[in-house]
Assembly symmetry: C2
DNA sequence: CAGACAACTGCAATTTAATTGCATATACTA
DNA sequence: TAGTATATGCAATTAAATTGCAGTTGTCTG
């Protein structure tokens, strides 16, 4: 559970205050881990139209409110950006951890190390994901949820 | 253009020799960069049924013949594994480079650095992708292809 | 070299994900 | 509180991926 104030976030980014937008932020901040688009849709499907959900998620990503992490299946997962993110630059260059047992995606407090690119290549951003078993699945090897 | 012998590769992995399988390997080894599923389908669509293509790609991935790289859109891209890959363990822990101008994906000759996981988390594999502009797009900033 | 079996392919149908256009509803501003 | 720009919901469409099954093709053995 991450402490955020949806209304403030919307105001900061010049976004209109709608109940759908607030609900999405609430839902995403419910858990420490990232949440996938299908999961979100399952949880919010009765309150928010699926198209609206897509649009809200895109807006949030553009504004730097959420960052999107692709899992091994190409499914989009979303997590709240740290406060240092902005519309112009994502500072989400931390390592992600994708549990292959419970499929949860964690944002680790570990920065991606600098890696030297070959001549001619210029890297603007980096993305690193570790695959393995998470804390919970290591101690209690039962599929949660 | 990567020098491979499709027939040998199939034999090594106990896969039946079919013309579809050979064609897929030929096509993927045509270029140095990874190729996306949609591109492959465009090139092979008249020779190979799309379902067959999906199945061949899955088989190759399982066997460690190809490795799959997801791009920022969640599209699967495929590249030939280095010879040290095997059915049981992928040794593809090199950095990938995803050009945001021409969208090509390169397998760099750069290994992913070791990163310490938080207590309780065990990482089995890692994946790192750099996003930016590649050699060609930096020198000749025109969209190729 | 032929026959038999297992494996592979292609087709049709289905499921799921994502996008677009448009009419209606809603938030913010003056 | 009226007007306007923006957001939402619905319907329809496009694209990606999967499943089941019938028919074909490789490979092994006799």
């Amino acid at each position: 559970m991450i402490k955020i104030n949806p209304v403030d976030i919307l105001k900061e980014h010049d976004l209109k205050h709608t109940k759908q937008r607030v609900r999405v932020l609430e839902e995403i901040s419910m858990d420490e881990v990232a949440i996938s688009q299908p999961e979100l849709e399952k949880k919010l499907g009765k309150e928010i139209d699926r198209v609206t959900l897509y649009r809200i998620l895109n807006t949030y990503e553009d504004k730097g409110i959420l960052h999107r992490i692709m899992d091994m299946n190409g499914t989009a997962n979303y997590a709240i950006c740290s406060s240092s993110c902005s519309e112009h630059h994502h500072h989400d260059e931390h390592v992600h951890f994708n549990c292959t047992s419970c499929f949860k995606i964690y944002c680790l407090e570990v920065r991606i190390p600098k890696i030297k690119m070959p001549d001619g290549f210029t890297a603007k951003t980096m993305s690193t994901t570790a695959y393995g078993t998470c804390e919970k699945c290591n101690t209690n090897p039962v599929k949660p949820d």
